[in-house]
């Protein structure tokens, strides 16, 4: 187990380094620079700016400097948000992204499992058909369509909920729902599928023969088995919900790190984009590592593989 842990951790670190390196050089390859705009920049001024942001050094030197900073946990100064360091920006943006992603995950799991169970327990019934029809639509409709529709209906036309920005509780309703919809639908279909499968298992007959109530059977004998595929789906889903909020944050004008990422890329804010990529990569790799370790714990065959 120790050897497995070591190799998995090392390969995760290697992947992390690879991502940082590729993004660092890709970003520099993009045409346009952080100080390009409509206004003129006299050569003296450009020299001053490049010196202030370390851009007067050679590219390899900048790369080594960046890795050094990263090692110290410093993501550097933002090129464009001059009054903030990238660490400060991530510290203000990450909680917003995590809240939206977390709420969306919560909605996707509770709603998805409830709907899937309801449909799966009566396969072929009218409610099953209806629910699965709705989830089909949910999967097919991309967030980029659903979110503006929500804004138009609930924000502009009905005036019930704010159309964007951050403020009170009401600002946290539309974005997580819009983000959660496709995942809710996916979880519902997964749950339904495995519930239907579990229904034909012989141990349910035994349970019924013992005289258990339907409620107990569902809780003790159907759900735990039916939810296994859902659990394995949660690793990638959690990562996707976190990164998926890039679109939601743009549409709802939320100050999360996904929005920084888009703005940073447009502004050639090298350090900000790098910082957000580093955080995303670290989170996703961590999720994957945890899932791998959990699998290894559950299934001895995996940890014996080289």
């Amino acid at each position: 187990m120790a050897r497995f842990l070591l190799t998995r951790t090392l390969s995760t670190l290697f992947t992390f380094w690879l991502i940082v390196t590729v993004v660092f050089f890709l970003m520099r390859l993009a045409p346009g620079g952080p100080f390009d705009g409509e206004r003129r920049l006299p050569p003296e001024v450009e020299t001053n700016l490049r010196a202030a942001y370390n851009l007067d050094k050679s590219l390899p030197q900048q790369y080594i400097d960046y890795l050094g900073m990263l090692g110290r946990g410093d993501l550097g100064p933002s090129f464009r948000q001059k009054d903030f360091s990238v660490n400060e920006l991530v510290a203000t943006g990450l909680p917003v992204s995590l809240t939206i992603g977390g709420l969306a995950l919560f909605i996707a799991i509770t709603l998805g499992i409830t709907v899937g169970l309801k449909a799966g327990l009566a396969p072929g019934s009218r409610s099953d058909m209806l629910l699965m029809g709705v989830t089909n639509v949910g999967i097919a409709m991309p967030t980029i369509i659903v979110a503006p529709l929500f804004i138009l209906i609930f924000g502009v036309a009905l005036g019930w909920l704010p159309t964007g920005g951050l403020g009170g509780f009401t600002h946290y309703i539309l974005p997580p729902i819009a983000l959660a919809l496709p995942f809710t639908a996916a979880i519902a279909r997964l749950t339904r599928g495995s519930v239907v499968e579990t229904l034909s298992e012989p141990h349910l007959t035994t349970a019924r023969a013992k005289g258990l109530t339907e409620r107990m059977i569902i809780r003790r004998h159907i759900l735990p088995i039916a939810l296994l595929p859902v659990v394995s789906y949660l690793g990638p889903a959690a990562a996707a919900l976190l990164t998926g909020s890039v679109v939601i944050e743009q549409v709802f004008e939320l100050p999360g790190i996904g929005r920084y990422f888009v703005q940073g890329a447009l502004n050639r804010d090298y350090t900000l984009v790098m910082g957000v990529v580093v955080v995303y990569a670290a989170l996703i790799l961590l999720f994957n590592l945890l899932v791998d370790l959990a699998y290894a714990r559950m299934d001895p065959r995996i940890r014996l593989q080289p």
């Binding site: 390009d36 001059k82 009054d83 159309t163 509780f169 946290y172 920084y260």
Partner: protein, 521 residues
């Protein structure tokens, strides 16, 4: 399930308590993006200027109608050669922490702006000051800068050459004072809300990046102001700005989708505020590449572009066609328009075809042009219209678009044939005409060079009297425009929506609306 519902319930309660109460005294304004800095010496964007105008006060300032009026300076005098300006400060000026503001603070600020280590991208705004360019490039120490405090109330500015528009230059954030006593103590962290000190009608209270910047009344400001608190929200997307305005979350927005103009005129007529911005959008020819080094080709292409048709029929967003390189709404100046504007449509087409024939282009050898523009719906419609004008005289146009940064980086490198460009800003002709001077550098995108034009511009820049200056500038414009280095197209119309309950809002050609002049009905 019971535990779950309890968790949800407590979460809801927490959020309700944690949500800030929407104060009725706060005015919520949309700003077209997130400020990159609130350090007035490091600023670079109009949207930062908007916020900084509320936070600071320069020697001169805008009034509610966008006119230049005394600010921190009560009055000023100019020497007869126009090289020395003496400013007298108002009595009793204070910083927002109650400390007295003196002429020494302005000297410190000008030196800081031009110090190379400040890396101010707009430092060149102050290049009219004596030795400013040398100080900014590190060739002279900052003490050599032409800014001196004679006493606490008197500031003396000496210039490199006469510059009658100095009062206009001084009202931008690059001319704002910054609190030396604070910067000495906390360094770059002075811009954090917890440290913040400024001398304007408001001070910085809170800044959540990508969410809002909130300013609160500065009790030490010399004039009373009505609005207690102002929150600027970055609304980069016109559609979401429009949505949030309609949902009554924002009191005024800086723009809305141009396609909604007709509907807004019908449904929210009392909210609509249109103001023609001092600006010129134009097409620029790269005069160093074949065939655009040939004046005949440039003229032929210019002849058939109908800017009226573009603004009235194609864009329909209120923009105003402009036949000169200097916007028509610049004060005290009569622009020189393109010479062909007195011809009718048929004559223009005839002349254009003849010019192209003379330059060697015709049905057997059609002129092929690649035109570049900044990505966007309105720009695309405009460029398509221009391409169709050119098609009428047998010119084949290929369109190429790129995002703003890439577009202008390419233009500066001269990597284009014909391109869309724009210039915004000042209320004086040389701000625009300066772009076509041969030693202007890479914002003379087309590398236009004409010794006669240069000589006239140089002569104008030596004159201290605005009228004399403008006569020379107009001559220069007439010489330049006749060679068609650019095709002026239109001035931009700013489309704002403003809550009718707000008072003191006046449309103006600078599109400036300091909150200290606003109030509630």
């Amino acid at each position: 399930m019971y535990i779950l519902s309890r968790v949800v319930f407590s979460l809801v309660c927490w959020w309700l308590l944690a949500s800030p109460l929407q104060s009725a005294e706060t005015i919520h304004l949309g700003n077209p993006g997130e400020p990159e800095t609130l350090d007035p010496h490091r600023y670079n964007l109009r949207l930062e200027e908007t916020i900084l105008t509320d936070l600071f006060l320069g020697l001169t300032t805008f009034n509610a109608r966008g006119q230049i009026v005394p600010g921190a300076a009560a009055a000023w005098t100019t020497s007869s050669d126009g090289l020395t300006w003496t400013f007298t400060l108002r009595n009793g000026l204070k910083w927002s922490d109650g400390k007295t503001l003196t002429a020494h603070d302005f000297v410190y600020a000008f030196r800081r702006l031009l110090a190379p280590e400040t890396a101010a991208s707009l430092a060149y705004f102050m290049y009219p000051l004596k030795n400013a360019e040398a100080v900014n490039s590190g060739k002279l120490p900052s003490e050599e800068l032409g800014a001196r405090a004679l006493d606490d109330h008197t500031l003396l500015l000496s210039l490199e050459a006469p510059y009658p528009h100095l009062p206009e230059r001084l009202l931008y954030p690059t001319g704002y004072p910054v609190p030396k006593h604070l910067i000495d103590r906390v360094g770059d962290a002075w811009v954090k809300p917890k440290n913040w000190v400024s001398n304007g009608a408001y001070r910085l209270e809170d800044w959540q990046p990508q969410s809002h910047v909130t300013l609160v009344k500065n009790d030490y400001f010399f004039e009373p102001v009505e609005i207690e608190r102002v929150s600027y929200h970055p609304l980069a997307n016109e559609q979401s700005a429009y949505n949030r305005y309609r949902a009554r979350e924002i009191h005024a927005i800086s723009s809305f989708p141009s396609g909604e103009l007709d509907r807004v005129r019908k449904d929210f007529a009392s909210h609509l505020r249109l103001s023609p911005l001092l600006s010129i959008v134009y097409l620029v020819f790269n005069t160093t590449v074949v065939p655009f080094e040939d004046t005949r080709v440039r003229q032929a292409l210019a002849l058939v572009v109908d800017a009226d048709l573009i603004t009235v029929k194609v864009q329909r967003s209120g923009n105003v066609a402009n036949g000169s390189f200097v916007p028509a709404n610049v004060v005290d100046y009569t622009p020189a328009v393109m010479p062909h504007l007195n011809l009718n449509r048929g004559e223009r087409r005839e002349t254009a075809l003849r010019l192209l024939r003379e330059a060697g282009y015709g049905p057997d050898n059609p002129l092929r042009v690649t035109m570049r523009y900044v990505s966007g719906t309105e720009a695309k419609k405009t460029q398509l219209a221009i391409a169709s004008f050119w098609k009428n005289i047998g010119v084949e146009t290929q369109l190429h678009h790129a995002e703003l940064k890439v577009h202008f980086a390419d233009l500066r490198q001269g990597d284009f044939q014909v391109a869309q460009a724009g210039w915004f800003g000042e209320n004086n002709a040389e701000h625009y005409l300066g772009l076509l001077v041969s030693d202007t550098g890479n914002v003379n995108y087309g590398r236009y060079a004409n010794p006669e034009y240069d000589a006239l511009m140089h002569a104008a820049r030596q004159k201290a009297n605005v009228k004399v200056r403008n006569v020379l500038l107009r001559k220069a414009e007439a010489v330049g425009i006749a060679e068609y280095p650019v095709i002026p197209l239109y001035s931009v119309m700013i489309r704002r929506l403003v809550d009718p309950a707000i008072t003191g809002w006046h449309e103006n050609s600078r599109d400036t609306h300091p909150v200290r002049f606003l109030g509630w009905r």
